[in-house]
Structures are given as C-alpha cells and as structure tokens.
Amino acid sequence: MNDMTAMDKTMEQQKTKIAAKGVDVHYGEAHAIKDVNVEIEDKTVTAFIGPSGCGKSTFLRCLNRMNDTIDICKVTGDILLDGEDIYDKRVDPVQLRAKVGMVFQKPNPFPKSIYDNVAYGPRIHGLAKNKAELDEIVEKSLRRGAIWDEVKDRLDKPGTGLSGGQQQRLCIARAVATEPEVLLMDEPCSALDPIATAQVEELIDELRSRYSVVIVTHSMQQAARVSQKTAFFHLGNLVEFGPTGQIFTNPEDPRTESYITGRIG
C-alpha cells in the first residue's frame, strides 16, 4: 500500500473480471443504485466503502444476481463477467453463483452441522470424489476461515450454536470451500477480533493470487491494508473508484475526502 508505483503496475496487467455498465437498482420506488460504472479486475482485491445505507450490499448482490431473490428489486444496466452479460437470458444464475461466491453481511449458517455447512458447496459442485477428499476440503476451508481450532472437536454440532464471530468465519469457510473465481464478502470481519481479522485478511491476500475478491468494509484501515482498488459509494452513487493508495491519499472527489477524514456519514 505504500509502494504505490510497483503495485499499480502489477494491477495494470490484470484483465477486467467484472465490468458494470450503467447499473441502476430500484427497490420498488426507491432508487438504491444510480448509474454505477465500474471495472473489477482479476487477481485483485477491490474494496467497497461508503456510509451505511449507501448501497454497497445492494451493488455487491447485483454481481452474482442474489438480488433476483428480492421481488421488489429491479436491476437495469449491464454487468459483464469475463465479457459475458450475467443478466443475459441464457445465463444460468446457478453457474454464475458457483463462480461468484458470496459471504453475506448477516452470518446465515444452515441449521445443520458445522461439517455439513462447509461440505454443502463442495457436495453440490462435485468437488470431492470421496469422503476423505471432502473431509480434507472441509478442514482446509475451516482453516482458511480461521476457525478450525475452535470447531474441530464439534464438527457435528449445529452451526447455529456458534458465537457471532464464529458464525461469520464459518460462512467465510463455507464460501471458500467451493473455490469461486470471484469472492464477494460483505463486511466479513465485522464481528471479528483483531487477530481473527488479521487471519481473514491473510486469507484474502492469499486468494488474490488466484481469484478476484470484492470486500465491503467500514474500516478504512482494513480497506487500505487488503485492497488494491477502492470504490467509494455515497447515496447510491459510485463517487470515486481508483487505486486504493490514491483514494486514501489523494481523493479526487470532495465527498470521498470528507468521508475518509470522517466528516460525512
């Protein structure tokens, strides 16, 4: 984050993974996302920041069409994944979501065992040939979610009986278990202590080497630590999008500056 130039150069080599063009989202009458254009690059961590209620989650959910499940939510504009329009009629949202994984803002473990929570994705995607392989995936994912040590003795206990932070990490583990190409994380560390946060950030960094990660966060520090690109949303507008270093040190828009310096909320 300090070494601006070097990093920006690596990023330049990255091709665009997701491109959003003129995206508008309405919840019934309410206009939640207003004409957003953004290009999210491969092998990059992109941070979405902005005041609460500005539309970060809404936009994030557009990227893997999770908004389809909300009746009143209408999305217009184009979103391209690897150059293909994900809102195309021919696109199977299921396949899309297998590629674009998601960690939700509110942890939502299945009312099943911890093991089954993590194993579910690999099972439906056929990622494991046998039980041993599956066990291995589960363990690896839980380790990556920085929760293995806490739950290794209670894998058969329900995931809903975990503490808030544990549930959050379980959901992270569940999302990485399916090995998505893009991982959307909506405030993945909100309920985590600094150490766990650091572990998750490490995971994000590791993922970046192969995948594209989008993370919503309220912590400016976190954004600065983990992301290469940052998008600042405000009242449904994408106010500014650029290399993280630049956004934090030299924002173009006065609103971005106000937000970063703690003046608008």
Partner: protein, 492 residues
Amino acid sequence: MPLLWLVLILLALSVAGFFLGRQRALASAGGNSKDLHSLPSYYGHNVALTGLVPALGVLAIWLLAQPLFIESRVSSLIPEEAIPESSTLGLVMSDVRRVAEGLDLAVSEGVMTPEQARNMRSEFSDVRGRLGEIGVALGSDVRPEVLNAAQSYRNLSNTGTTAMIFVVALIAAVGFAYSYSKTHKDFRARNVVEQGIMALLILAASLAILTTIGIVLSMFFETINFFSLHSWTDFFFGGTWAPNFRGDSELSILPLLWGTLYISVIALLVAVPIGLFAAIYLSEYANNAVRSFAKPLLEILAGIPTIVYGLFALLTVGPALVRFFGQGENGILGVEWMSGATSVLTAGVVMGIMLIPFVSSLSDDIINAVPQAMRDGSLGLGATKSETIRQVVMPAALPGIVGAVLLAASRAIGETMIVVMGAGAIAKFSANPLESMTTITTRIVSQLTGDTDFASPETLVAFALGLTLFVLTLGLNVLALAIVRKYREQYD
C-alpha cells in the same frame, strides 16, 4: 405377467442407465468430477429418466389405447343381428371380454391347451360349463359369434402385447442411447433434470385446476337442468326451503346459507380460540414432554369419525344445553329458551371441538418456525412472553395461521353428520342460536340420497346448491388471500 416384467426390466435398465451415464460423464472429464458441468449423478439421472419416462408414458398410453382399439376391431366382427334386442354392442362386448378372460385363465391353469382355446367351437363343446369349472361364471351360454369374437379378441391382444413390448423397449433403448450419447462433460445435465422435475411440479399444480374444472363440469349441466325446471329467482332470492314430493317446492338457498354461516361461525368461535391458544401453549410454553404427547393426542380429534361427534351432539351436548337453556323451572337457568337438543349451538360447539386440531397443529408448526431472534428481540425489550407472542410472533406467523383457519372453516362448511344430528334439519332464518337450522352441505347430501324423483328439481337442486356454494367459498377465499397479502410480515 409380461407387463410386470416389462416394467421391471425398464426399471432395471434405468438403474443401469444411471450408472452408465454417470460413468460416461466422469470418463469424458477424465475422471475429474470438477470438470463436469453438473454433479455426476445428474448425468445418471438424465440418462435414467430419458430412458424411463417416455417409455413409461408410451406404455401407459398403449395400455389405455389398446383395449379401445381391440374393442373397435372386435366389435366390428359382431354382426348387427347378433346383438339381442334391447342389448347394446357394449354389453355383448363385455361378454366377449369375459369369455376371453375365461379362456386366458383356462389356459394359464392348464385346463385347456392354447390350441384348444384358439380352436374351440361353441357348437361342439360346452364353453360355459368348462369355464364354470375353473370359477369363471358366465351369464348365459356362449353364442358362436361371441366365442369367435372372444378368440379374435385374444389374438389381437396377444399381438398387441407383443407389439407393445417391442415398441416400448425400442423407445427405452432409443431414449437411453440418445441421452447416453449426449452425455458429455459440457452437457448441462442438472438443468435438464431440473427442467424435468419442474415439469412434474407444474403438472402436480395443474391437477388442482383439473379437479376444479371437473367439479364445475360435473355439477354444471345438472344445475342448468335445475334452473330449467325451477325459477332462479326463487332459488336465489326466495325465503323458504321446503322441498316436498308433490313438486312445486320452494327451494331457496338463502335460509340454508344463513344456517351454514351461523353454524360455521359458531364452530370457528370455538375452534379458533381453543386451537390457537393450544398451539401457542404447545409451541411457546409447554415443555418437550407435554408437547410431544399433547399435539398428537389433539390430532386424534380430527380422526374420530363424525358419526361419533353426531351422537355426542345429540346425546350429550344437546341435552346438557337443554338443561341450561330449557326445561323452564326445572332447568339450571330457569328459562325456556331451548326445546329440543338440536340447535345451531349444539352443532357449532361439537363441530368446533372436531376442528381444534386443524387450527392447533398447523399453527403450532408455523409458530414454531418463527425464528428465535424475533422472540429474543422482544423479550430483550422487557416484553412478557405473552406480549411477545401476541405482537411479534403471531403477526409473523399470520399467513400460516390464516391458512389453518381457512382449512377449519372449509371443513366446517363441508361437514354433514354433525349438522344432521346436532343442528336438526329445519331450514329457517333465525338469530337465535338455540334453534334448529341446517346447512347447504347437509341439504346437498340429503337431496342427493333422498327418495325424490332424480329428474325432479327437488333432487337436482343439490347440484345448484353445490355450484353456488363453490362460487361463494371462492369469493371468501379471494378475500382471505387479499387480507393475507396485505398483512403479511416477512421476517428474516
């Protein structure tokens, strides 16, 4: 039985197809299931289902069509003059079928050789007697035309069955081959299988529509008949229900409708509070032990035959009410409001008891499904349990509870035995719940099962009543749907 074998073979084939399809899919991905578009089992299901479903469909159609076809072919063999006066071709054909089945049985029991059965002549042998020996009773001696027809019937159906086996097997094979050849790692097996399942789901949902159409049609023509015999103004706007045997009866739905509504409302006034409170207690207060025995026990109430409730109303509840509200000086209240044991109240109360589990069990499940976080939120604010239940849990569970109440109301409208025995059979307008009244449904049943001439308006009115009731409840349901839509609270 070749049919059973055929089905078994198809099933076996489809099981094999499952594994083969799976295998091939895996092979096409070089054994690496991750490269497949879908889970390997979806490829298996795809092959299994494409082989099985069309074949079974054709089999079913064939089985329905073959008898029709053979029937028409064979019946053309029966000369006009062979049909006795007043009989019909259909009847002769059923004789033919019976003889043919008898011959089949005789052959399979070894009483006759196949050749004998094929070449038997009624002129020379006593067919009826010989079939009688193996327990096939025939109505009369077998005439030569009938025997001939029966023999060609057997021939045709044998050929037909052979052809059927061949065709069905061919279709299955083609289906398997096609889907097997399509099986490849990029084939979207899951989508195809899911589309298939979706088609089945839609099929299931449309059954409801078919049933409705069937019901409306089965009542529609008779209703038309009724209105051609009886004035519709009397039916819809008259004030009296008084069928009699001399014709020219007054048959108005209004007093019946009044009785239906009155009795149902009382039943719901009993069942809904009791059922809801029971549900609330079971899901929110009761410990596991109480819950696990009380709920199934209450459900037995829904399974006790209604005749028991009818007698209960007549012999226990009715007289008890009379002791309260009747008998003048000797009664408990010293009033003379009620004379007979049958009344709207008697029937309503007893029906209410029967309906308790309809409300309690279903509501209990729904209340139980409201997430604990909702309760925690309310309790954390210092609400009592009952406040939580009334103001947070119940509104969240509302759609389900409305469904349960609708179900109970529907049952109340449709009940007969309790009304007949508990409410009496008098149709009248009265606001007094201690008087006898009757309902539309009981009148439908009694007019249908009664002794009046079946082509008279007194019997046909049953259909008009049924259809009108159908329309009325439709209106009620539309209303209920609108209410639920309006007040639905979606929790998360």
